[in-house]
Symmetry: C2
Subunit: 192 residues, 2 copies
Amino acid sequence: MSDKLSRQFAFLNEADKLKSVLRGTTLCDSSRQENSGEHSWHIALYAMVLAEHAERPVNTDRVIKMLLLHDLVEIDAGDNPIHGNHDPVEMERVEQAAADRIFGLLPALQAAEFRALWNEFEAAETDDAVFAKSIDRVQPVVANLETGGGTWPEYKVTPEQLDRRVGVKVRRGAPALWNHLKARIDAWFDAH
Amino acid sequence: MSDKLSRQFAFLNEADKLKSVLRGTTLCDSSRQENSGEHSWHIALYAMVLAEHAERPVNTDRVIKMLLLHDLVEIDAGDNPIHGNHDPVEMERVEQAAADRIFGLLPALQAAEFRALWNEFEAAETDDAVFAKSIDRVQPVVANLETGGGTWPEYKVTPEQLDRRVGVKVRRGAPALWNHLKARIDAWFDAH
């Protein structure tokens, strides 16, 4: 028992570092960059509030767990802004190594269970994972809309790029959310 | 649908403010104060990892949802450090008003559902709520242990006070966690 708890606390203390990984987007009041720990909380809340809008029925509890875990690999791999440029093959290698190390801190059975949930999220094939990805993609769009465009000017985002990198994925799991935001997104790009 | 989504996004945008509510404890690397948004993520992860150590069987999914919501009232009421001094009657009044306002942003059915979960957490009577409270109380203890005592000296915490305000509540829902940490806690107070 004691060894098991030691491993579990080692994992939870390591997870604390996610609060120091900064993302491309800011808080809704523009005061500072968001970190990946608070982002993970916010999108778990998004899933809890918005699950009824999933394109296909989902198990909200599984989606929430996926979202609580999904960014932990950034402790080693850092955040890769959706509109930035990075080598996807190298990023995949680094994130897999991070998942090995970080989930490997847990007792073996729990490590396997958490890793399976993370793998499922990354593969984006099941209904739960597709919806979880939609939620993860839509929250920065809302943050950008709330902050007058947010990081879109900095990354020179075009409407086509936003649709290709973000819109497609949001619509795949939750088209109602994209449709709801579309008028505000179009208005912003028309004005800029 | 559109009005419903507008209310849901209004709630989620309001929730963003929890990332700017600072707590008494710091991150595990002492670099800065923790905020209540990232704290909420961390303890949801605590619940996911540590649920097997609950004194009585719990529904982990409900515990996670309670913990995702539990601190939202701090957007209006602020964080009240466990070792600080505050008027419990006035605090209760302010938090109830905050819950009215913040959950009231949601569509009516969802507002009632979330408020009921928050009420259950606050009442700390069901097995799920008792365990959720234990998790909420134990995480700052771990943060303080990881940072050489953390905020205990600042608040002049005595071993008796820690046991009365924290230990009792952790043991009520998860005695195995307190027993696991007890040796480290005793060692710290013996040395200071």
